[in-house]
Structure formats: structure tokens, C-alpha cells
């Protein structure tokens, strides 16, 4: 039996009928076509499916779509604004923080959440904030450097999640 839910993803309202066992990640990816959110393990371990749900980063593979009813979701597709790329996106590109790119969406959202709660994180705080996002390519260092380069500029970042 499908349930009708409504939720706001990247400032756009969606009304969808979902099966009770549909995960938020599958809803986002397969039903709504927002494939920027990735799936690496479907057990909440790799962080590739990280989205921001009502201001908190979550593994969307561990959230049921029905649990997102009436809530706000931010995915990687919602980071760019009319003014251009989000400063974190720009920093990831410039610092070489992206190799295969599969973890990138989740990393960006974890980093965004960090900077919104802590404008000037130290290196350990940055590392802790992305420790739930596995990356097998970069050794994390250029990701940490990219995030660090944006810290302290949070006020310019605008946007809400």
C-alpha cells in the first residue's frame, strides 16, 4: 500500500506516493531522478547518500521516504544558486578534492553542515565532520584543505538547508 507524502527538496515541493519500505535515497534517486546522491553500501556506513534533512546530515539510505513527509531535504543538486557554485563546490574543484567523485556529494553536504554550525573549525573538527563519509581515492587531505579554505567565510555562503 502506497502512502502519499509531500516534502520539499532543494526548495521545490514534491508530492509522491511511496511504498512503506522505500528509502529516502531510492526516492530521491530513482523516483525523482536526483541522481547526484549516491549509494555505496545501503547500510549507513559509507556516507555517499548523505543529504541534509531539516538541518541535519543523514544517511538517506537509513531514512524511510515516509519519514521525510513534511520535511526539508537538501541534496547536492541544491547547493548551486543563481549566483553560481557554492563556495565549497568551488573549493573542492580548485583544491583537487575530487577524484572519482562518488563520495563528493555526501562530503559536500557534511562539510556544509559543519560550516553552518562552526564557522571556523580546526583541522580535527573538519576531519571529524567528514569521518562518516568514506573516500577511497584522495586520502582526504585535499578534501580537508578545500573545506578549510572556505571556513571563516560562512557568512558569505548564504542559503538555508
Amino acid at each position: 500500500m502506497k502512502t502519499l507524502i509531500s516534502l520539499i527538496i532543494n526548495d521545490k515541493e514534491y508530492e509522491v506516493a511511496v511504498e512503506p519500505n522505500r528509502t529516502l535515497s531510492d526516492l530521491i534517486r530513482y523516483d525523482l531522478g536526483l541522481t547526484g546522491t549516491k549509494k555505496g553500501c545501503e547500510m549507513g556506513e559509507c556516507g555517499s547518500c548523505t543529504v541534509i534533512l531539516d538541518g541535519k546530515p543523514v544517511n538517506s539510505c537509513l531514512v524511510l521516504a515516509v519519514q521525510a513527509d513534511g520535511r526539508y531535504v537538501k541534496t547536492v543538486e541544491g547547493l548551486e544558486t543563481e549566483e553560481g557554485l557554492h563556495p565549497l563546490q568551488d573549493a573542492f574543484i580548485r583544491h583537487g578534492a575530487i577524484q572519482c567523485g562518488f563520495c563528493t556529494s555526501g562530503m559536500l553536504l557534511s562539510a556544509k553542515n559543519l560550516l553552518e554550525n562552526n564557522a571556523n573549525p580546526d583541522e580535527t573538527e573538519i576531519r571529524r565532520a567528514i569521518s562518516g563519509n568514506l573516500c577511497r581515492c584522495t586520502g582526504y587531505q585535499k578534501i580537508v584543505e578545500a573545506i578549510d579554505s572556505v571556513s571563516g567565510r560562512t557568512e558569505k555562503m548564504g542559503g538555508k538547508s
Binding site: G36, G40, F92, Q99, C100, F102, T104, Y140
Partner: protein
């Protein structure tokens, strides 16, 4: 010093904007109209005879469109090396590991496909399984493959020089045994694919692979299709590191299911299936005897290795050779003996993984060399410098180092880490260690015996002259190859990077053996450069005729044609260009002829401007059997210093700093080179400290997930200082050679040597879990009392 406009810079990767915005398409991001979903049935037993497969209930489940087993798939044998084709698409008489594929289903959705899988009834007669090398080699042990008695998948026996004689004349001889555990590839994107068999009999397979070319050939062979009717397309791939460098049963199943149903079929591995399919790092047991003179000269190495290989060969034939041949350098050593054995066991097949075959050999030997240096009261850095090969040297197993910045690497990490201030002066629990290593820059020979080019590149200038489009079958898997080839093209043509597009990873674009053995920068780089030179020659050739100037008078820089001498009148060319572009807003102006104008005129004269490039290695040395595994046009090398802190009460190891210098010949993209170094070190750190695939006594993986199989997180990684050394490889495009795998070579032994320096304990078994370290520290303090 030549200056470059594009290469050797820190240009942003061309795929980064798409990846940063979620636009980049990976395999699971694709869907097709009317697409079916597929699923696989895996063996629950490690070793059993198949008595009966009943698919009737699965077939009659509503929504199921096809069920295939060996009966439908046939029994064409395949594998990686033609010398060991020991797999069939599905098991028909026997299953050989927990995970072996028995059947596949296509249905209207994934849930139905999985339900159908659960309805397939297989009757087994369980057979005794062999899960360790000892069990597999025991007298009377059950045999996995009838053709391979003693479960001996492959053995190698090499001797260069006279090892016994050399050892007898040595002042110091040491024997140590080191053991590693199975590692998983740990790429974050599981394998997936979509196969579409069209109505005209052409098969298109989109798949997360490192090697579209080999997948194309294997699929064609197994499904009995002409190679030309099989097209393999690689979308963006979420990491590979080796295990994605061969065709897998899921790809073949999707193709056959599409052929049976006439519809596109999508399949994905779950994370558990990634572990089951494996094809990742073997478990190695090396016993090494090394002899040296009192003055520290290394004289001989006797290396014996047993590889626990799993149920099939996969890349294992190459692995067992590499585990010997990759110790031929980077030290001068006149005598080397190697005896390698790869053993079949009832476990998932191991294959290639970053640093293929050489990582544990390197770990064992470099730790042993440290022990020898200590016994000789020599500083480990000085000991290594004393024995170092130099450019032009040929190893005893005929590996020729045409360039070798090994000494520069050692000096760079010594000075960069403050080695002299720290070595021997750190408090208990803190340690510093170093190591060296090297790796091939592309396998010298293709996996199947062939005279084929290793890569072909076709580059096409758009007819307006404004865009240069590179077509290559090479595989961007995250390492940055697309950016590398775009940069080489821009540099060679003298145009901005922004004018270059690249389409890669498609077998329709020609032959490229793919992303393995750290081959693409050197090999595809050569072909890319040649294709760009071809275009340059064609365009400038037209200009010489149109403008009546000698070709030597012409060059292209920053997108403009440069004339060596002033006063060349190109107004007629400009007039012709402008006439064809009335009303356009971006007309060329000023007193310089643009590349765009020149390219357009060349098109008007010659038709489409298409450049061709190709590459295969020069004739490489090595007459002995197996010499093909290890010979390469060039070798990358590196040195590392690791600083470690060990909690003497708990055994917990924390790495504080890693200093890494790598000779990549010439850095096409400096940021990408550093990224490969940092990523390599992370993979080495994981294998050294905590990564291990664990099995129960039935051959089932106990930790086939990222909760229990531990990959390094951002908190586990220390600060890494990457130092790029450039030795200018004569056989590399612009002097470039590998960085993707060589950089992992010194990591594990540098960690082992640092841990010894901190604790006074040598560890000869990986990984160095806190429990293992704690027990060893306790044992040591007990001995002292």
C-alpha cells in the same frame, strides 16, 4: 628549461564541476525505457556438487522475464589470462566458493528479481572445502579444478645469478617470514551495468569497469558474438584500484538476459556481492633470505612466496610473477631467486589491486633490509642510498631503469621529514621509519598475446575550428586520465585547455587496454600526443600552402598562430573566415591569426581534420619465461618517511606524519600527482593497520560491509607531505611516467619500520591491530622480566 602553457600546472580537473554538482553520471544513475532489473543467485556453500537446479517456480513468478543458468549460458571458459581460463559464466557441476554464481534472473523490478532468485531450488552435495594454503596443499586434499593437481594454480621459479654461492660469501644473512591478510578493493561505488541488445543484433553494455576493451573481448567470446557487435561504454566510475579490471559474471548475465528478453537489463552488485566477487589483494606469505656484505652491499635475495588465491585465477598468474619480479629494483643486487606458488582455495578469487603483487613483497623485504641495516649499525637511509640503482641500470631480472629519481626521492623525504634530527632521538612510543619502492609504468605486454597497439587515439577538430575533441577508449576511473589527455592535447596543439573536449571509455573510440598497471599516462599519453601532432601538422600544412611560408616558420601558442618572422599577410584567410560567419558575435579580430581561423581554413581545404595516434611499447628486454610480468617502458619510484606514535598500554598505533616523494618523471598535472600519492598512502595505511577480510570455518565472509571491514576515515589519516620528483623519463610523453601505484609501495614497510622504532618490536604479520600490538608488547615486557 622548456616552459609549458598547460601541462605541469595545477589545472582543475575537467570532470570536477560535473562531479561537484551531482551532474556526473555513474552507472546506477542510468535508466532506460522499459528496462528490466536483474539479480544473481550465489552459492551458499564453499564447495559442493550441484545435483539439480530447478528454476520452474522462479520462471512462473509474475513479472519474471527470464531465468538463465549454465544450460542457457553455455560453458565457454574465460578468465583474465588465456593461459588460465578457468571460469564459466555460471557453475554447472560444482560450486567452488560462497558466492559462486549459479543463475540470474531478469524481472520487471528488483524486488521481483530477488524473489525469483529465492525461488530457484538447487540441490547440492556438499564437498569438503579447503580454506587455507595448508589445507589446499595437504596430501589428498580435495581438488578445486581437475586440471590442477595439488590445487596449484600457478608456480614460478626464477633464478638470476647464483644465489646460494652469493649467500655463502655474505657477512650477514637473514631469513624472515611475513604474512599478510586479504584486503578488499574498498572502492565506494559497487560494480553495476546496463546491457541492451538491440533489434539489429548489436549489444551495448554500460558498465563500471576499468577495462572496456577487455570486457568487450570477454563478453564477445563468452556469448559468441563478433567483437564488432559488442560495444562497451564506461560511464564515470567510482574507483577501481584493480578489482574492476576484468569482466565479471554480472556483466555477462545482464548481456545474456538482454539477449533473451530483447529489453535493456540493469544489474548492480550489493556491497556484500562486491566482497564476494572480490578480485582484490591476495594474502601473501613471503619467506625471504637476504645476504649483505659488512659494508652494507646487498648481494642476494632468495624469495619464496605462497599466494592464497581463491577459487579462480583472475589476475593471479600476473600476481604470482609480480610478487617476485618487483624486487629486482631499486637496489643494485646481482643475485635473485624466486619461487612463487599461487594456490586455489574455496574462497572468492583474488586478483589485482593497487601495487599489483608487489606490495607485500616490498613490505617484507624493506622491513628485513631495515633489520640488516641495524645489525650492521648503518642508518637505514644511508644503507639504501649505498645500494641504490641509477638511471641506465638494468636489474638482474632485466628491468631497465631509463630514468630513476630514487636518490632524489630518498634525499627529499630525509630532509623533508627532519630524519636526521629525529632518528634515534625520539622518546619511547614514538618512532620514525622509512622505505623505498618502485612500480611499472604500464605492463609491457597486453594480457592476451597480441601485436595489438596498446592504445589508439582519434582527435577531431570541430568544423568551425573552435573545439578539439579527443576520442579514446581509455578509462577515467577517478585518477584523472581525462584531464591528463586533455592537457597533453592542449599543450601539443598550443591551445587553451578549455578548447579541448574528451570522450573516453568507449570501445567505439578504438583500442585502449584500460586503466591498470599504471599505464595510461605514459601509453595513452603517447597516443594522445601523436594524434595532436598529426592535427597540428595537417593545419599548419594547409597554412604553408595558403600563405606560402615554410612550416618551420609556423607555431601555435595560446590559441594563436605564431609566425617566426613578421610580415606574413593572412588577410585573405581572415576574409574567408569572416565571410562564412556573418552575424556571429565572436569574430576573430586583431593582428593575430587565431587557431580557430587556421583550423577552419584547413577544413575547407582538406575536409574534416582528424588526427590519429597510437602506441605500443618499444622492444623490452627479458628473455626468460614470465619476463613479460614486470617489464615496462618505464618505472616510477618513491621513498617515504612515516612518523608513528604507539600507545604502549593499549597497542593503538597513530600515524602522525607521512612524508612522501615520488618520481613521476614529469607531472602533467601536479595536483593530480599529489592526489595519487595521498590516496596510495591511505590504501597502504589501511592494509598495514586494520584492513582484513575475515572468513568463518565455512568459507563465509564475516565482515562483508564497511561497518566491520575498516577503511581509513579522515580521522585515521595523518598529514601527508607530497614531494614531486621529476626525472624526465625518455620513453614517456613529455617525460611522464606512473604515480598511481608506485606510491603505495613504501607505505606498509615505512609504517612497520616506524612502529619498530617506537616499540622495539618487529611485526611480521599484517594488519597491526591494537590487539596484535598489545600482545606483542606484553610478550616483550614479560621476556625482559
Amino acid at each position: 628549461m622548456t616552459s609549458f602553457a598547460v601541462i605541469n600546472s595545477r589545472a582543475s580537473r575537467i570532470d570536477a564541476p560535473d562531479k561537484a554538482t551531482g551532474r556526473a553520471m555513474f552507472i546506477d544513475d542510468f535508466t532506460m525505457p522499459d528496462m528490466l532489473w536483474g539479480a544473481l543467485l550465489h552459492s551458499p556453500l564453499a564447495h559442493a556438487r550441484i545435483l539439480k537446479i530447478d528454476t520452474s517456480r522462479a520462471k512462473s513468478l509474475p513479472g519474471v522475464r527470464a531465468v538463465i543458468t549454465a544450460k542457457e549460458a553455455g560453458l565457454v571458459k574465460y578468465g583474465v589470462s588465456p593461459a588460465r581460463y578457468d571460469e564459466t559464466m555460471f557453475c554447472h557441476d560444482r560450486v567452488r566458493y560462497v558466492g559462486d554464481e549459479i543463475a540470474a534472473v531478469a524481472a520487471v523490478d528488483l524486488e521481483t528479481a530477488m524473489e525469483a532468485i529465492s525461488l530457484i531450488k538447487v540441490e547440492y552435495e556438499e564437498l569438503p572445502a579447503v580454506l587455507t594454503i595448508e589445507e589446499a596443499m595437504a596430501d589428498g586434499a580435495p581438488r578445486l579444478h581437475d586440471e590442477y593437481p595439488g590445487n596449484m594454480c600457478a608456480e614460478v621459479h626464477h633464478e638470476f645469478g647464483d644465489v646460494e654461492k652469493a649467500l655463502a660469501a655474505c657477512d650477514i644473512v637473514r631469513t624472515d617470514t611475513m604474512q599478510s591478510k586479504r584486503q578488499d578493493g574498498g572502492f565506494i561505488e559497487p560494480q553495476g551495468c546496463i546491457a541492451d541488445f538491440g533489434k539489429r543484433g548489436y549489444l551495448t553494455l554500460r558498465t563500471a569497469t576499468q577495462v572496456p576493451h577487455y570486457v568487450q573481448r570477454t563478453i564477445a567470446m563468452v556469448l559468441k558474438l563478433p567483437v564488432g557487435k559488442v560495444r562497451v561504454i564506461k560511464p564515470y566510475v567510482g574507483g577501481g584500484f584493480g578489482p574492476k579490471a576484468e569482466a565479471n559474471p554480472m556483466e555477462m548475465s545482464a548481456c545474456l538476459l538482454s539477449m533473451k528478453t530483447g529489453k535493456p537489463v540493469k544489474m548492480n552488485y550489493s556491497r556484500e556481492e562486491v566482497f564476494l566477487h572480490s578480485r582484490a589483494r591476495h594474502s601473501f606469505t613471503h619467506t625471504m633470505t637476504t645476504g649483505a656484505k659488512k659494508d652494507g652491499t646487498i648481494m642476494a635475495l632468495k624469495n619464496e612466496c605462497y599466494l592464497e588465491g581463491g577459487a579462480y585465477s583472475s589476475f593471479g598468474i600476473a600476481t604470482v610473477y609480480y610478487a617476485g619480479s618487483l624486487l629486482g629494483g631499486p637496489y643494485k643486487m646481482p643475485n635473485m631467486q624466486y619461487d612463487g606458488y599461487r594456490i586455489y582455495t574455496n574462497k572468492p578469487a583474488c586478483g589485482a589491486q593497487r601495487g599489483h603483487g608487489g606490495v607485500i613483497a616490498r613490505a617484507a623485504w624493506e622491513q628485513q633490509l631495515d633489520v640488516i641495516a641495524e645489525e650492521l649499525s648503518m642508518d637505514p637511509v644511508e644503507f639504501r642510498l649505498k645500494n641504490m640503482m641509477v638511471a641506465g641500470d638494468i636489474s638482474c631480472n632485466e628491468l631497465k631503469m631509463n630514468s630513476l629519481g630514487m636518490r632524489e626521492c630518498i634525499e627529499a623525504v630525509r630532509d623533508g621529514s627532519g630524519w636526521k634530527k629525529k632518528k634515534g632521538k625520539l622518546p619511547k612510543g614514538k618512532g620514525i621509519g622509512m622505505s623505498c619502492g618502485f612500480f611499472v609504468s604500464g605492463a609491457g605486454y597486453s594480457i592476451y598475446r597480441s601485436d595489438t597497439y596498446h592504445c589508439t587515439v582519434t582527435t577531431r577538430v570541430s568544423e568551425d575550428g573552435g573545439t578539439v575533441h579527443v576520442y579514446t577508449g581509455s578509462a577515467e576511473i577517478g585518477q584523472g586520465s581525462d584531464t591528463t589527455f586533455a592537457m597533453i592535447t592542449a599543450e601539443t596543439l598550443g591551445i587553451p585547455l578549455e578548447w579541448v573536449r574528451i570522450s573516453s571509455g568507449d570501445t567505439d573510440f578504438g583500442v585502449d587496454l584500460g586503466a591498470y598497471s599504471s599505464r595510461q599516462t605514459l601509453m595513452t599519453g603517447h597516443a594522445t600526443k601523436e594524434a595532436a601532432e598529426d592535427i597540428r601538422r595537417q593545419i599548419l600544412g594547409v597554412l604553408t600552402r595558403e600563405l606560402k611560408v615554410d612550416i618551420a616558420e609556423l607555431d601555435v601558442k595560446d590559441g594563436y598562430v605564431v609566425f617566426k618572422h613578421e610580415g606574413v599577410d593572412f588577410s585573405d584567410l581572415r576574409r574567408r573566415y569572416l565571410r562564412e560567419h556573418r552575424g556571429w558575435k565572436d569574430q576573430p579580430e586583431g593582428d593575430r591569426l587565431t587557431f580557430r581561423e587556421a583550423a577552419r581554413i584547413a577544413y575547407l581545404v582538406r575536409g574534416s581534420i582528424i588526427g590519429k595516434g597510437k602506441y605500443k611499447p618499444q622492444n623490452l628486454g627479458g628473455g626468460h619465461k614470465g619476463a613479460a610480468v614486470g617489464t615496462s617502458p618505464a618505472y616510477g619510484c618513491s621513498a617515504q618517511v612515516v612518523e608513528a606514535s604507539v600507545d604502549m598500554d593499549t597497542g593503538q598505533i597513530t600515524l602522525e606524519k607521512m612524508t612522501d616523494a615520488h618520481d613521476c618523471g614529469f607531472a602533467i598535472n601536479r595536483t593530480s600527482v599529489e592526489g595519487q600519492m595521498q590516496g596510495s598512502l591511505m590504501m597502504g595505511l589501511g592494509e598495514a593497520l586494520f584492513e582484513e577480510v575475515i572468513f568463518d570455518d565455512k568459507g563465509r565472509i564475516m565482515n562483508s560491509n564497511f561497518g566491520e571491514y575498516k577503511l581509513p576515515t579522515a580521522l585515521d589519516m595523518p598529514d601527508i607531505e607530497p614531494i614531486i620528483v621529476e626525472s624526465h623519463e625518455p620513453y614517456g610523453p613529455y617525460g611522464a611516467k606512473e604515480v598511481g601505484e608506485g606510491a603505495i609501495m613504501p607505505t606498509i614497510p615505512a609504517i612497520l619500520n616506524a612502529v619498530y622504532n617506537a616499540t622495539g618490536v618487529r611485526f611480521w604479520e599484517l594488519p597491526l591491530t591494537p590487539e596484535k600490538v598489545y600482545r606483542a608488547l606484553k610478550q616483550k615486557s614479560r621476556k625482559k622480566k
